[in-house]
Amino acid sequence: MLDKLTPALVRALAVFISMLVISIIVVTISFAYMDGAHQAQQSAKRGVQKWQAKINSSVEHNQVIDEFESNFLKLVHQGVVGAEERLSWFETIQETTKKRGMPSVKYSISTQEALNETNIKQQYQGINVFKSVMMLDIEMAHEGDLFALLNDLKRADGLYTIDNCRIEKMSKRSVDVNNNMKANCELGWYTFRNSKAKNGKGS
C-alpha cells in the first residue's frame, strides 16, 4: 500500500500531518489561554459581586435598623426581648387584686420553655422564642374583674396571649352576690432572645 505512494504524496501527507499537529497544539494552547482568562474573569466578577452584595446587604441592614430600631428598643424596654420580668407580672396582679378588692386570685407559672414551631425558624431567623405558661385561678364578683386584671397585665413587662379560659358562675341565682364567679385561665408569656447570643441569653 505504502509503496504506491509517490514522494509528492508522502510530502503532502507529512505537510498535512505537521500542519494538523501544529494547528492542534496552537489552538489547544489558545483555548487554554482563553479558558484561563475566562476563569480569572469569572473570579474577578465574583469578587465584584461579593463586595456589591456586601454593600447592598449593609444598605439593607441599615434600612432595617432605621425601620425597626425604635420598635425593637420598645420591646427591649417592655421585657419582650431579653430575660423575663416575672416580678413585674406578679406585681401587676397584686396591684389589680388589691385595687379591685378581688377575694381570691391564685396564680402559678411554669418553667420557661423554648418554642420550636417550624414557622418561627423559617420566618423569624436569628431569634429564639420562649414561652412561660401562667395559670390564673380567680374568684370574683363579676367578669369585669377578670377583664380588668387581663387588661392590667398588658401594661406589665412582657407579651402574653390567652390560650384558654373557663368562666363560671358559682351560683346560678340570677341576682349577683359577692364571689359570684370564678375563672381559670391559661396565659402564655413570650420572650425573645438573639439566637447567636452566648448561652441563649441577652438581646
Binding site: 501527507l13 474573569q41 456586601k54 454593600i55 379560659c165
Partner: protein, 524 residues
C-alpha cells in the same frame, strides 16, 4: 496549462492547452530516436498531469447480450466475454451497458471495446511511466466523439458520424440515441497536400460501413441513418457531391471551422477534426479512463490526493489561525474585563471600608431586630382573640330584643387554629400566620314558659338562628337543649299542679349548652 498525449496509430502528438486554446504541440515518431526525443521532452518540460487519447485502426467494438444479473455476476460475465474476444488486450478493454432488450429474457446489452494491438502504445506508456508523468487515463476517440453529438444536434436516432483526424484515415462511428454501437476506421489513399477530393475516397468506405451495419442488423434495413460528416472548407464541395441523401439516409456536412467556432476553440487546425476531439477529451473531468489498469494512473491519483492534502493543510492552517485569533481576542477581552473588575472591586472595598466596616457588628443584629419586631406584632395581632372579644361579640347577639331572657352560667373558651390540611381544630399557635379563632362552649339557661315547650324551643331556635346569622360566627352546634326533642336525644319531663309549684325557682331547668366557633376579630 493542460496536456494531452494524442496517439493516432503511428506517431504521438503532445498538445498543450490553455483553456480552449491550443498553445503548442509536438509530434514524436515511434522510432528509437523519436522515443528518446519524447523522453527528453518529458524531462525538460514541467511535469504536469496528462491525458492519453488513442485513435487507432486496431480497435474493435461489438455488442453482446448478457443475462440481467447482479453487478458482481455481471462483472464476471463481462470478464469472461472480454477474455474470449480480446484475450491479448486485457488491460485495454472497455465495457458499458448501453441498454436492455425489451422482449424475451430482457437481457442487458453490453458494448465491448478493445485495442486489439496495445503494444502500439506500450513504448509511449512506458516512457511516460519512466518519466513519472502523472497520467490521468487513456481514452479512446470513438467513445469521446459521443460528446460532439450535442454540438452537431444529433442526439437522437441512428447517427453515423464520419470524421477525419489524419489524412490517411476516415473514422466512422455509429450511435443510436447517443450510445455508441460500432466504430471502424478505414484507410484511404489521400494525398498529404491535397485533401479536397475526400468525397470520392471516403464515400465507398462509408457505403461499405452502412452495408455492413445493415447486414449485421445493427441498423434495420428500413431504418433511416443520419449521416453527419465533419470536413474542412476545402473538402465541402467534394463531400456534397459524393454523399447524396436517399430514402434511408440523411446527410449533414459540418464544416470543422463552424464546430470550432461553436466550441470557441482556437489554435487548432481546420483541416482535420483531431483538435476538436483532443479538446473534447481534455474537457471531461469525471469520466473514468477507458483503457489501462488502475495502477497506471496511481501517480495521477497520488498527485490529486497530494493537492487535496495541501489544500486541506491550508484550510487547517487558516482554520487554526482563525480559531487562535478568536481565542486570543476573547482572552484579551477577558483580560481587559479582569482589570476593570479588579478596579471595581477595589472601589467597592474602599466604599465598604469607609461607610460600613465599622457597623458590621450592628448590622448583624438587623435581622434579629426585624424578626423580633415582626414576631411581636404577629403575636399582638393574634392575641386580640381573647375571652373578652368573644364575650363582647356574644353579648351583641344575645342582647337582641326578641331573644328573650338568657342567663350565661359558664363559658369554656380556648384559642384555636384550623389545620389547613385536615380542617381539624388544634391549639392556637400565636406566632403563626393562621387566624386564631375562638372555640367556646357556652352553658346557660332560658326562662321556660309553663308547660310551653314550643315557646322554649322557639326561643332556643331564635338564639341559634341569631348566632348563625352573625358574620363572625362560623359554626353553632347545640350540645344540650332545654327541650330536646331531636330524634337522636333522650328527653323526659312531667306535668301537673304539684309539679308546677316545684318548678318555680328551679335553676336546673331551661339549661342549654352551645358550641360556638367564631372568627378572629377584624384587625383592620
Amino acid at each position: 496549462m493542460r496536456r494531452l498525449f494524442y496517439f493516432t496509430g503511428y506517431r504521438l502528438s503532445v498538445l498543450h492547452w490553455k483553456g480552449k486554446q491550443l498553445v503548442g504541440s509536438s509530434s514524436f515518431e515511434p522510432t528509437e530516436s523519436g522515443l528518446d526525443k519524447f523522453r527528453h521532452y518529458l524531462i525538460e518540460t514541467k511535469n504536469i498531469p496528462g491525458k492519453f487519447l488513442v485513435d487507432v485502426i486496431e480497435e474493435d467494438f461489438r455488442m453482446e447480450k448478457i443475462p440481467h444479473v447482479g453487478s458482481k455476476d455481471r462483472a464476471s460475465v463481462i470478464n469472461r466475454l472480454e477474455d474470449r474476444h480480446y484475450r491479448s488486450s486485457q488491460d485495454y478493454c472497455y465495457n458499458e451497458i448501453i441498454g436492455r432488450e425489451k422482449t424475451d429474457r430482457k437481457d442487458d446489452i453490453v458494448l465491448l471495446g478493445a485495442m486489439t494491438n496495445p503494444q502500439l502504445i506500450q513504448p509511449w506508456i512506458t516512457t511516460l511511466d519512466e518519466c513519472k508523468v502523472p497520467l490521468s487515463g487513456i481514452w479512446t476517440l470513438p467513445l469521446i466523439s459521443k460528446k460532439l453529438l450535442k454540438t452537431i444536434k444529433a442526439t437522437s436516432g441512428v447517427v453515423l458520424l464520419v470524421s477525419q483526424q489524419v489524412s490517411s484515415n476516415v473514422r466512422q462511428t455509429l450511435f443510436r440515441d447517443c450510445k455508441l454501437i460500432s466504430s471502424r476506421q478505414s484507410i484511404i489513399n489521400q494525398s498529404m497536400t491535397d485533401i479536397s477530393g475526400i468525397g470520392e475516397l471516403a464515400a465507398p468506405e462509408v457505403n461499405r460501413t452502412i452495408e455492413f451495419l445493415r447486414a449485421q442488423n445493427l441498423v434495420a434495413s428500413t431504418e433511416i441513418i443520419d449521416l453527419h460528416i465533419l470536413g474542412s472548407d476545402e473538402q465541402l464541395v467534394s463531400l456534397e457531391q459524393a454523399f447524396k441523401p436517399d430514402e434511408y439516409l440523411t446527410v449533414t456536412i459540418h464544416p470543422i471551422a463552424e464546430i470550432k467556432d461553436k466550441l470557441s476553440l482556437s489554435g487548432i487546425g481546420s483541416q482535420f477534426s483531431d483538435g476538436i476531439f483532443a479538446w473534447l477529451c481534455l474537457d471531461q473531468t469525471f469520466l473514468g479512463s477507458h483503457y489501462g489498469k488502475r495502477h497506471l494512473f496511481n501517480r495521477y491519483y497520488n498527485k490529486l490526493a497530494a493537492t487535496a492534502l495541501y489544500a486541506t493543510s491550508l484550510l487547517v492552517v487558516i482554520a487554526s489561525v482563525l480559531m487562535t485569533e478568536a481565542n486570543i481576542s476573547v482572552a484579551m477581552e477577558s483580560e481587559k474585563s479582569i482589570v476593570l473588575s479588579k478596579q471595581a472591586e477595589k472601589n467597592y472595598k474602599d466604599l465598604y471600608s469607609k461607610r460600613f466596616k465599622d457597623f458590621e457588628g450592628v448590622f448583624e443584629n438587623a435581622g434579629v431586630m426585624s424578626s423580633a419586631v415582626e414576631l411581636a406584632e404577629r403575636i399582638k395581632i393574634n392575641s386580640a382573640t381573647s375571652p373578652l372579644d368573644f364575650m363582647i361579640a356574644l353579648s351583641n347577639v344575645l342582647s337582641k330584643e326578641n331573644i328573650g331572657t338568657v342567663y350565661i352560667d359558664k363559658i369554656e373558651w380556648k384559642a384555636v387554629n384550623i389545620d389547613e390540611r385536615t380542617k381539624q381544630l388544634k391549639k392556637a399557635n400565636f406566632t403563626g400566620k393562621l387566624a386564631v379563632k375562638h372555640d367556646a362552649v357556652i352553658t346557660g339557661r332560658i326562662v321556660e314558659s309553663e308547660d310551653d315547650y314550643r315557646a322554649s324551643m322557639d326561643q332556643m331556635n331564635t338564639i341559634i338562628d341569631y348566632l348563625r346569622a352573625d358574620s363572625r360566627i362560623e359554626k353553632v352546634e347545640a350540645l344540650i337543649m332545654p327541650v330536646d326533642l331531636r330524634s337522636e336525644s333522650k328527653f323526659s319531663t312531667e306535668s301537673g299542679v304539684d309539679v308546677k309549684h316545684q318548678k318555680k325557682g328551679n335553676e336546673s331547668i331551661g339549661i342549654f349548652s352551645l358550641k360556638i366557633l367564631m372568627k378572629e376579630p377584624d384587625h383592620a
